[in-house]
């Protein structure tokens, strides 16, 4: 049999098949490709981490024990939602797609890195119900895409990152002292972005992939950490995802700012909060909220979190620590600032003065807004070497949760809840070690996500 005869017989074999199969709709094939890409992006880091962990335990890794109650909640490799559908984090603005990045200015060639030791963790954000959580700290960005079953390190660097803000599972920013990093691919690659002329960024909050507001300049406030400025701070705005920043006029030197959209923003300074409905250009003649108590001229600090359009929560820290008490109070508004309700206060000082329900500890701690009527707050009591916790529901109903002992958590720095049951907290314990804890039962119990 010659070559030509063999070719003929191969064609006879194949032609009925080629003619008989009907190609499926190309749109379905495209969608299959897109789904696979999304799955890969979420799963690659996970697979590499698992491989590293399985390679003999050579890495002092972050693969923590599985969180028991997570069983059966979702697929192990639950992928983050695509940018167009990912819900915004509760404290953040509506989901959007991608931030602009400086051209070619990669801060580090980040793929999934060996895990290594994590010295400090400063901030954490759970991104809605996507299963994606991001934690940042000293030289590290850690992510999980499966509700914390496994964590991977996606960035290693010299800077200590103090804040993180994602508007979707893909798009987010990490802020450190003198450095702003952005990612558009769920943290696989980070790009270094610009700082405003007004000074280093101390806070940022993005409402979309392009629109963001921040606090720049000022001077360090020693007892609040370097990212929370006092003095002549400047309100800044970007409309290109952090590539460039411009200054905006503010009613007072800002300390905290958040926007859910350009027509829905808040700014805090001292014990007051202002509201803007035009992207931060105008803030009204008077504050929307002022703490109804004297602070005796001491520097106060107000932390803001947006819950939804027209809804915000504020935690005021009057900084007047004495006799083991540092006054704080939590207020919330759900009607654009027309009315503010007192939620809780430090029981021995400000809470008693203002007649507020008692907070869970003697010092202000981080809080996480779940929605306009629900929030979670931690409050350490250094004298007792414990951290109290409370879940606020129905706007002001308090459910006191078990204290966390200092060996587990002594200094909570950041907390983020994806729902009323699932939350994460970072900080340090009494031994000064970095802590990353997760709860699946609304704070009744916590599990470490870091190796012992």
């Amino acid at each position: 049999m010659r070559d030509e005869e063999l070719r003929r017989r191969f064609r006879l074999l194949a032609e009925p098949v080629a003619d008989g199969v009907e190609p499926p709709d190309p749109r379905l094939v495209r969608e299959r490709g897109r789904r696979r890409s999304r799955r890969l992006l979420a799963g690659t880091a996970l697979v590499v981490a698992a491989a590293l962990a399985g390679a003999g335990g050579a890495w002092a890794g972050l693969i923590g024990p599985p969180v028991p109650s997570l069983t059966g909640v979702g697929p192990a490799s639950s992928a983050p939602a695509p940018p167009t559908t990912a819900p915004a984090p509760p404290s953040s603005a509506p989901a959007s797609s991608a931030p602009a990045t400086t051209s070619g200015a990669a801060a580090s060639p980040t793929t999934t890195l060996p895990l290594g030791r994590v010295e400090r963790l400063d901030a954490v954000q759970a991104i809605g119900g996507t299963g994606t959580v991001v934690a940042v700290g000293k030289g590290a960005i850690l992510t999980t895409s499966n509700f914390g079953r496994t964590w991977v390190r996606v960035w290693r660097g010299a800077h200590e990152l103090r804040d993180v803000d994602f508007v979707s599972a893909w798009t987010g920013w990490a802020l450190g002292e003198g450095v702003l990093l952005g990612t558009v691919d769920g943290g696989q690659h980070w790009h270094r972005l610009s700082q405003p002329r007004a000074g280093p960024l101390r806070r940022v909050h993005f409402a979309s992939r392009t629109q963001g507001w921040g606090v720049a300049g000022g001077t360090d406030q020693a007892d609040q950490g370097p990212m929370q400025a006092q003095g002549a701070t400047t309100l800044v705005h970007t409309s290109d995802g952090g590539r460039t920043w411009s200054a905006l006029a503010a009613p007072a030197p800002p300390q905290s700012v958040c926007f859910t959209a350009p027509d829905d923003g808040w700014l805090a300074s001292g014990t007051s909060v202002w509201r803007s409905v035009d992207g931060g250009h105008r803030w009204g003649a008077r504050p929307s909220f002022t703490l109804p108590a004297p602070t005796d001229g001491l520097p106060a600090y107000t932390e803001l979190q947006c819950a939804a359009p027209g809804a915000a929560w504020v935690r005021v820290d009057t900084g007047d620590a004495a006799a083991g008490h540092r006054p704080y109070a939590l207020y919330a508004s759900g009607d654009g600032g027309a009315h503010w309700r007192g939620v809780l206060g430090e029981p021995g000082t400000l809470g008693a003065l203002l007649g507020l329900p008692a907070g869970p500890g003697s010092s202000p701690g981080p809080f996480s807004v779940i929605d306009p009527s629900r929030a979670f707050l931690l409050s350490p009591t250094p004298a007792a070497q414990a951290t109290g916790a409370v879940l606020v529901s129905q706007g002001s109903r308090l459910r006191r949760l078990p204290d966390l002992p200092g060996a587990t958590l002594a200094t909570p720095l950041s907390v983020s809840f994806a729902s009323t049951t699932r939350g994460w907290v970072v900080g340090s314990n009494t031994a000064g070690r970095a802590v990353l804890l997760a709860t699946v039962d609304g704070g009744r119990s916590w599990q470490s996500q870091l190796p012992a």
Binding site: E5, A14, R30, R34
Partner: protein
Amino acid sequence: MTPDDGFDAYFVRNYGRLVAELHSIVGSLADAEDAVQEAFARASVRWDRLRDYDHPDAWVRRVALNLAASSLRRSRRKLVAYRRVGVPPPAPPPGEDTVVLAQALRRLRRRHREVLVLHYLAELSMEEMAGVLRIPVGTVKGRLFRARAALERELGGAFSGEVRHA
């Protein structure tokens, strides 16, 4: 809205041909279709680069072959299990040329089926086959020589052609 970037037309034009090639190698139409669809799906997300290739189907074919190989390995494990419990041998084939060829291919090693199908059905050159299979050209030539000899044995010595080194 789906962009009109030429992928859809390319997919519809080449789908059947590639399925037929894969079918000749893997022997299962379902496996062949699945591998080819998955290969096209992967091509779709990188189509902006692939469409500029001289022969995008070389990329699609290679991916489909790799996917089919993975599927074959899974099937082989199942087959080993079946054999342990005694599966009756298949019925003898009818005598038509094409069926004889199909049966002969089934009895060849997969790597031999690959080079025979790529050479005689897809009509690829040695260099193109080397690219698809990611092996050196010399290896392709040697493998094709052995594949032809094996096919000749299976066809009962009715094979006397020579490999044309394109």
